[in-house]
C-alpha cells in the first residue's frame, strides 16, 4: 500500500536505505569480480584490466574436475528433488493438516548445516555397517558398498538440504492454481496424471523451473554436506575453499568465483523478473473474473 500522506523525503529515505543494504550485501561479490579482471591480482598497486585469468580457469584441471563433479551432483539432485517438491506441494494443497505438513517439510532448515551433515555421516556409516553385514550374510558383495561415502550419499544429503527450498518455490506458484481446473479436466475424461500434465503443469511451470535453478545454485553453494558426505574433497566449493586455505586465493580462483557468482545472480535475477512478469499476467487474468460479469 502506498502511503499517500507520507512525505516525499521519507519515501526517498526508504529507497536510499534499501540501496545501502543491497550495496552492503553485494559489495564483496563485486570486489571479487573487480579483482578478477586485474592482471596484477589482489592487492597490487597497479590495476591493469585483463580477461587472462578467465582463460587460465580452463587449464586448472583440479578446478574443472571439481566443477564436473558438482555439476553432476546438481543435475542428479535437481532431477530427484524437484519432482519430490512438486509432489509435496500437491500433497500440501490437498491435506487438511497444513501446519503439520509444512513443519515436517521445512524441519531440515531448522537444523544447522554442520549438525545435519555430521548426523547424515554417522547415519550412513551405521547403515553401511548393516549393509556390509547383510551383504556378507547373503554372499552378495555389491550390497555391501551401497552406503559407502560417495556420490549417492552426497546426493541424499543435498536432497535433504534442497527439498524444503524447492518445495517453497513450487508452492508459491501452485498457490495461484485453482483446483477446480483439475476437476474440470477430470470431468472431461482426463485421468489424474493427464489432468496434471495438460492443465496444472503448464501453469506451475515457472515455479518448477525456478525450483530447478534454485536447487542447482544451492548445490553449487553447498560446502559442509558435500565435504562430509561425498568424500574426496573434490567438489567445487571444497576445492575452492581448500585452495584458499592452503595457497591463498589465486587469480584464477577470483575468476572462477566471479563466473559462478555471475551465473547465480543472473539466474536468480532472471527468475525474479520472469516471476514478476508472470505474476502481473496472472493478476490481469484474475481481475476480470473477480469483477461481476456481463
Amino acid at each position: 500500500m502506498v502511503d499517500e500522506y507520507g512525505g516525499r523525503w521519507g519515501y526517498r529515505l526508504k529507497w536510499a536505505y534499501l540501496l545501502l543494504v543491497v550495496a552492503t550485501l553485494m559489495s564483496p561479490v563485486f570486489y571479487v569480480m573487480y579483482v578478477s579482471f586485474n592482471e596484477n591480482g589482489f592487492g597490487a598497486a597497479n590495476y591493469v584490466f585483463t580477461f587472462a585469468w578467465y582463460g587460465v580457469i580452463f587449464s586448472d584441471r583440479l578446478m574443472l574436475n571439481a566443477l564436473a563433479w558438482t555439476s553432476a551432483l546438481a543435475i542428479v539432485t535437481t532431477a530427484i528433488t524437484v519432482p519430490f517438491a512438486v509432489l509435496a506441494a500437491k500433497f500440501y494443497k490437498a491435506t487438511r493438516h497444513k501446519v503439520l505438513t509444512l513443519l515436517l517439510l521445512l524441519s531440515p532448515l531448522f537444523v544447522a548445516a554442520d549438525i545435519m551433515g555430521a548426523s547424515l555421516l554417522v547415519y550412513f556409516k551405521n547403515l553401511n555397517g548393516v549393509f556390509e553385514y547383510v551383504g556378507a550374510a547373503l554372499g552378495v558383495a555389491w550390497v555391501e558398498t551401497w552406503f559407502n561415502l560417495g556420490f549417492m550419499t552426497a546426493v541424499v544429503g543435498l536432497i535433504v538440504y534442497t527439498l524444503p527450498y524447492a518445495f517453497i518455490v513450487v508452492l508459491i506458484t501452485m498457490g495461484r492454481y485453482r483446483v477446480q481446473q483439475t476437476e474440470a479436466a477430470r470431468a472431461c475424461g482426463a485421468s489424474g496424471w493427464r489432468a496434471f500434465w495438460d492443465i496444472e503443469f503448464p501453469q506451475i511451470r515457472p515455479g518448477v523451473f525456478s525450483a530447478c535453478a534454485f536447487t542447482v545454485i544451492l548445490c553449487f553453494n553447498e560446502y559442509t554436506r558435500t565435504s562430509l558426505l561425498k568424500g574426496g574433497f573434490d567438489t567445487f566449493t571444497t576445492v575452492l575453499v581448500s585452495q584458499m586455505l592452503n595457497e591463498g586465493m589465486s587469480e584464477q580462483s577470483y575468476a572462477m568465483s566471479s563466473v559462478v557468482s555471475f551465473i547465480a545472480i543472473a539466474a536468480v535475477g532472471a527468475i525474479i523478473v520472469f516471476t514478476l512478469i508472470k505474476s502481473e499476467a496472472l493478476e490481469r487474468q484474475a481481475r476480470p473474473k473477480a469483477e461481476p460479469g456481463t
Binding site: R178, Q180, Q181, E183, A184, A185, R186, A187, C188, G189, A190, S191, G192, R194, D198, I199, P202, Q203, R284, Q285, A286, P288, K289, E291, P292, G293, T294
Partner: protein, 370 residues
C-alpha cells in the same frame, strides 16, 4: 447364464438417470450427507436447493465422482458407480467459476474432452464450432478465457460439458458469480438449452428464484438430509415440512398447539387465536407449526370476512417497488408479514403502533408436524 437370460428385457422400464441410495458422506464427526435417498429420471431438469453448507454441493459432487461416499450407493442409469472416479462416469460438469483452462483458447477448452476421447482434429473442430454456435459464442473461438466476460465464461463451460455428449450434466451453482440481471437471462437460456438437448440436468443453487425458473423438480437439502422434493409449484404452494416453508418463498411460520382435528387438517391455537391449517397426521394437544404465504395475508382495520383473522399491532412498511411489506406483531410478540402488490395495497395506511387485523382466506394455512 444362458444367452436367453442375457438378452435385455425390452419391456422393462428404463432405469432412472440417477439413483442415490442411503448416501452418506462424513468428514470426521461432521455429516455432510446423512442417508440421502433420491431418484432423478432421465431428461429431467432437477434442482438441488438449500442453504449454504447444507450438503447440496457435496451430493452433486458425490454423484459426479469427486467425493467417495462414506456409505450408500450412487447408480447412474442403473449401474453402480460409487467406486468410479469422475473420468469414468457418464457425467459432465459445469463449475461455479475459475474452472476454464486459462492457458487454452476457448476452442481448445471446448475441444479438450474430445481430444481426450481420441477424436480426429477435424471432428473436434467441427463439433467445437457447432457447440460454440449453440451457446452463442461463435466468433470467440480464439479468445483466451480472461478476455471473456463472466457470462461468456460460463457459456464456454457449458459448451465444454455439452460437447462430450454425456447424458447427465451436473451444474454446481453455475450462475452464482454473475450479476442479477445476467443470472435471470441465463436461467432461461439454461432451461431452453436443456429442453433442446434433452439430457438430464442436475443444478445446485441456493437461489430459489433460479431454482423455480429452471426446475422440473426441486429437492431441498439441509443439514445433510433430503428435506422434501416435488415440483416447483408444490414446493412453493404446499410445503409439507416446516423447513421448506421457512426457506422457500416468504412464509409466516407460527408455532402452536392442535386444539382439535378436522377432516382436512386441524384447528391450531397460535398464541391465543385459533386458526385452521390444512394437512394430515395431527392429534389434539400436539405441538405443530402453521405456515401462511405472506402474499395471501391481507390487512384491515376490522376483522376479515372469512378464514383466519388475527389482531395485531402495526409496526412498519417496507416499500420494494412492485411489492410492499407490511410488518405487524401479534399479541405473543410473533411477527407476521403481509406482502402486497404496491399499487393494489391496503386502501388505508395504518400508523406504526395502531391496531390492525391480519387475515387470510380459508385453506391458505399449511400444517407442519416437524
Amino acid at each position: 447364464m444362458t444367452p436367453e437370460t442375457m438378452t435385455p428385457d425390452m419391456n422393462a422400464p428404463a432405469p432412472p438417470a440417477v439413483e442415490v441410495r442411503a448416501l452418506a458422506k462424513h468428514y470426521g464427526p461432521v455429516k455432510a450427507l446423512d442417508g440421502v435417498d433420491l431418484t432423478i429420471e432421465a431428461g429431467e431438469y432437477f434442482v438441488l436447493l438449500g442453504p449454504s453448507g447444507g450438503g447440496k454441493t457435496t451430493l452433486l459432487r458425490t454423484i459426479g465422482g469427486f467425493h467417495r461416499p462414506t456409505a450408500g450407493q450412487v447408480l447412474l442409469h442403473g449401474a453402480e458407480v460409487s467406486h468410479l472416479p469422475p473420468d469414468k462416469r457418464p457425467t459432465a460438469m459445469v463449475f461455479q467459476s475459475y474452472a476454464l483452462f486459462p492457458h487454452m483458447s476457448v476452442a481448445r477448452n471446448v475441444g479438450y474432452g474430445l481430444k481426450l476421447a481420441g477424436l480426429a482434429k477435424s471432428a473436434i473442430a467441427e463439433k467445437t464450432a457447432a457447440m460454440l454456435e449453440m451457446v452463442g459464442l461463435d466468433g470467440l473461438a480464439d479468445r483466451k478465457p480472461h478476455e471473456l466476460s463472466g457470462g461468456q465464461q460460463q457459456r464456454v463451460q457449458l459448451a465444454r460439458a455439452l460437447v462430450l455428449d454425456r447424458d447427465i450434466l451436473l451444474l454446481d451453482e453455475p450462475l452464482a458469480a454473475l450479476d442479477a440481471q445476467l443470472r435471470k437471462d441465463m436461467c432461461l437460456e439454461l432451461k431452453h438449452l436443456q429442453e433442446k438437448v434433452g439430457i438430464t440436468f442436475i443444478h445446485v443453487t441456493h437461489n430459489q428464484e433460479e431454482a423455480m425458473t429452471v426446475a422440473d423438480r426441486i429437492a431441498l437439502i439441509a443439514a445433510g438430509k433430503l428435506v422434501e422434493q416435488g415440483s416447483a409449484r408444490d414446493v412453493y404452494e404446499t410445503p409439507r415440512r416446516r423447513f421448506t416453508a421457512s426457506f422457500v418463498g416468504e412464509n409466516n411460520v407460527l408455532d402452536g398447539v392442535v386444539a382439535s382435528v378436522t377432516a382436512d387438517g386441524a384447528m391450531v391455537d397460535v398464541g391465543g387465536a385459533i386458526v385452521h391449517a390444512a394437512g394430515a397426521g395431527a392429534a389434539a394437544g400436539m405441538k405443530v407449526a402453521v405456515s401462511v404465504r405472506s402474499e395471501l395475508v391481507d390487512m384491515s382495520a376490522a376483522p376479515g370476512p372469512e378464514g383466519a383473522s388475527l389482531p395485531a399491532r402495526y409496526r412498519e412498511t417496507v416499500y420494494l417497488g412492485l411489492i410492499t411489506f407490511h410488518r405487524a406483531m401479534l399479541a405473543n410478540d410473533v411477527e407476521l408479514t403481509s406482502r402486497l402488490i404496491s399499487t393494489a395495497g391496503v386502501a388505508w395506511r395504518p400508523d406504526p403502533g395502531s391496531d390492525v387485523h391480519l387475515h387470510w382466506p380459508p385453506g391458505a394455512a399449511r400444517l407442519h408436524l416437524d
